[in-house]
């Protein structure tokens, strides 16, 4: 709420300024900040999960993700459930108590989570870019208004608001849920972009562009925007993470979409049926593990972009 809370480490650090190279190695084409270990690992994890969802559909019958398509409560092969039934390779990840195949659930559920993240973060970023640039460039009352509204919205516990809304709406679609989450996804990018635009507006190259008669529009998108790209990526990933987090929270509370299988929804059913006490670890374990991997992938990607955007973080990480 204070006007001074932009942390100094997010000040003007242009991504193109490489850290002081110790040798002439900076001319090596592989010595680019974009080849960041964290970024590459993170993106690989996310790609792997996405591929599981996309390629998995070709090799596995996704209809098995619906109730009563498989035997009940089967463990993965090599394990025995409480009734003494052994798992079979027909259901490599086991089945749950209403006859859904876990592998099919995961194949259908994983991309759904990403979808929610991408929609919500996409909408949030678009609004954030528009508001952030307006606030930074127009200034004055517009800036005051946008700043106050985003400061206010950022402190509202999103999950609480969404719980109330979704408990009233009986049926909810995946896209509706994503849009509802997007209602709260814009303040972060707005603040970030506003702060960056404010500091870049006074920088030499923007003044130069203005002197050469470039239009405001061209300054915004030709001069400032390219320098913001790593920030925008980091912010997008952060936003998508937040959106997936909110979605998983709602789903585990039983407020998610009922017609499509989701990972959070699977956990909700598992907890509701006391899967923990019945030691049906495959039921809650696989979705939880997959979500955990997903969030680790997103975090690494985010950290990677952060290091690209802010060379100071990079220097000391070695």
């Amino acid at each position: 709420m204070t006007t001074t809370n932009t942390s100094p480490d997010k000040m003007v650090v242009l991504p193109t300024q490489a850290p002081k190279a110790k040798t002439m190695g900076r001319f090596n084409r592989w010595d680019t900040p974009w080849l960041n270990t964290k970024l590459i690992t993170g993106i690989s994890i996310i790609t792997a999960i996405l591929l599981l969802g996309i390629i998995g559909r070709l090799f596995w019958d996704t209809n098995l993700a619906f109730t009563a398509t498989s035997p009940l409560n089967l463990p993965p092969p090599g394990f025995v459930n409480s009734r003494g039934q052994a798992g079979t390779w027909e259901h490599p990840l086991g089945t749950e108590n209403s006859g859904r195949d876990m592998l099919a659930l995961i194949i259908v559920g994983a991309p759904n989570s990403f979808l929610i993240g991408v929609i919500a973060a996409g909408v949030g970023m678009t609004v954030g870019i528009i508001l952030g640039f307006s606030a930074g460039f127009i200034g004055g009352r517009v800036d005051d208004f946008i700043r106050i509204i985003s400061d206010v919205t950022i402190t509202i516990p999103t999950l609480m608001v969404l719980i109330v809304i979704q408990s009233v709406l009986k049926q909810i679609e995946l896209s509706t849920m994503a849009l509802l989450i997007a209602l709260f996804a814009w303040p972060h990018p707005t603040r970030l972009i506003r702060a960056q635009v404010l500091s870049m507006r006074e920088s030499g190259y923007v003044k130069m562009a203005r002197l050469s008669g470039a239009s405001t529009f061209s300054i915004m998108f030709r001069e400032i925007m390219p320098n913001l790209i790593p920030y925008l990526f980091a912010s997008f990933i952060g936003n998508a993470t937040g959106a997936i987090l909110a979605a998983v929270g709602l789903e585990t509370l039983g407020l998610g979409p009922q017609r499509v299988p989701t990972l959070g929804g699977t956990i909700y059913f598992a907890i509701g049926s006391a899967a923990l006490l019945r030691n049906m670890w495959w039921w809650w374990g696989f979705p939880t593990l997959l979500l955990a991997l997903m969030f680790i992938g997103l975090l690494l990607t985010n950290l990677g972009f952060d290091e690209i955007a802010n060379p100071r973080l990079r220097q000391s990480s070695q």
Binding site: T4, S7, I156, T288, L300
Partner: protein, 336 residues
């Protein structure tokens, strides 16, 4: 002295009410934009549930009257705002004559206790580790190990809660599976009761700590690196000051302040996370209340509890913002 002026205080207070007003309006408005009238749906559910209740018709009539279903929307909206300002959310449908405020009141101490405990541990631990990560005097091994612990940061608290519950309560049986104190125990200031509360609260608190300490550590590390580049650091070292003194008085003291502002911003996420943890551990705070209410489709309780948590968050942020200038003399809120 810190620069809190009356003007700043009033402006900040206005923002506090603005936050609550926006949240309340969103909660009220969006369900009404959706097809189908939420109140009709709720009364419909009541008819289903109240099939065996003798005076169900009277209850429904009472609720219709109470909600003013026939009034125009703006009138309903104003009445709604009036009710929530007085924290009057009506009665729980599932436990009928119990007012929502009473249910909230019973759950609140548990939620607040867990929140305060877990948050203080997280804040201290996170900032400590973050400072170590950036300090040049830290042993190499620690610098390698701390980032590994950060992997948990990315996890949603609910996933951490499930893992912890499975490993420490189900497999190892070190901690109880659910609840906030031993069954059949009478709450009171006895040693036994307090021990039981701690025993039950450890895992939920741990779930919150391991998913959030990394956030502070990362922020702290970033701030420490920034402070490291300042001229006064060179001067302090050149003077030959004790490295620990430099670490504490020069680096940490300066780096930790923005962390407090960051704390205010993340409070909403923190409370949301805790609600989910409480639900997994069947801890008798707001989380369990909300989950039970969702199961029973007890809309009044869901709305009351959520709104209360929103107000709580806004209030905490307000307090932090008012106290902050006192801690950080560099901040002054007088308009220059």
């Amino acid at each position: 002295m810190g620069g809190i002026t009356i003007g700043y205080f009033l402006r900040r207070l206005a923002i506090f009410f603005l936050t609550i007003w926006i949240a309340a309006t969103v909660i009220w408005l969006i369900p009404r934009l959706a097809p189908g009238d939420p109140i009709t749906a709720m009364v419909g559910r009541m008819i289903q549930q109240g099939g065996s209740v003798e005076n169900s018709a009277a209850i429904i009539e009472g609720w219709r009257e109470r909600f003013g279903l026939n009034d125009p929307l703006p009138v309903q909206y104003v009445r709604y705002l009036g009710n929530i300002i007085r924290f009057d959310f009506g009665y729980s449908l599932a436990y009928f004559p119990t007012p929502v405020s009473q249910i909230v009141g019973q759950a609140l101490p548990w939620t607040l206790g867990l929140l305060l405990l877990a948050t203080s541990i997280t804040f201290l631990l996170g900032n400590f580790l973050g400072a170590l990560m950036a300090w040049r005097g830290t042993p190499r091994l620690a610098k390698l190990l701390i980032p590994v612990g950060m992997v948990f940061t990315s996890l949603p608290s609910i996933l951490a809660a499930i893992f912890l519950l499975y490993i420490f309560a189900f497999l190892l049986d070190w901690f109880p599976l659910s609840g906030s104190y031993g069954r059949g125990m009478k709450p009171g200031l006895t040693l036994e009761f307090i021990g039981s509360v701690i025993h039950h609260g450890t895992l939920p608190a741990l779930a919150i700590v391991i998913v959030s300490f990394g956030y502070w550590a990362l922020g702290m590390r970033g701030m420490m690196i920034t402070v490291e580049g300042e001229d006064y650091m060179h001067l302090a070292r050149a003077k030959g000051l004790n490295p620990f003194y430099v670490l504490y008085r020069y680096m940490v003291r300066n780096a930790i302040l923005p962390q407090i502002t960051a704390f205010a911003i993340t409070l909403g996420t923190l409370i949301s996370g805790q609600v989910l943890v409480e639900y997994i551990f069947v801890y008798q705070g707001m989380g369990s209340v909300i989950f039970t209410a969702i199961r029973n489709q007890d809309f009044a309780v869901i709305q009351g509890t959520s709104f209360f948590l929103i107000v709580l968050t806004a209030l905490a942020v307000l307090i932090i913002d008012l106290v902050y200038p006192l801690i950080d003399p560099r901040i002054s809120h007088e308009r220059s």
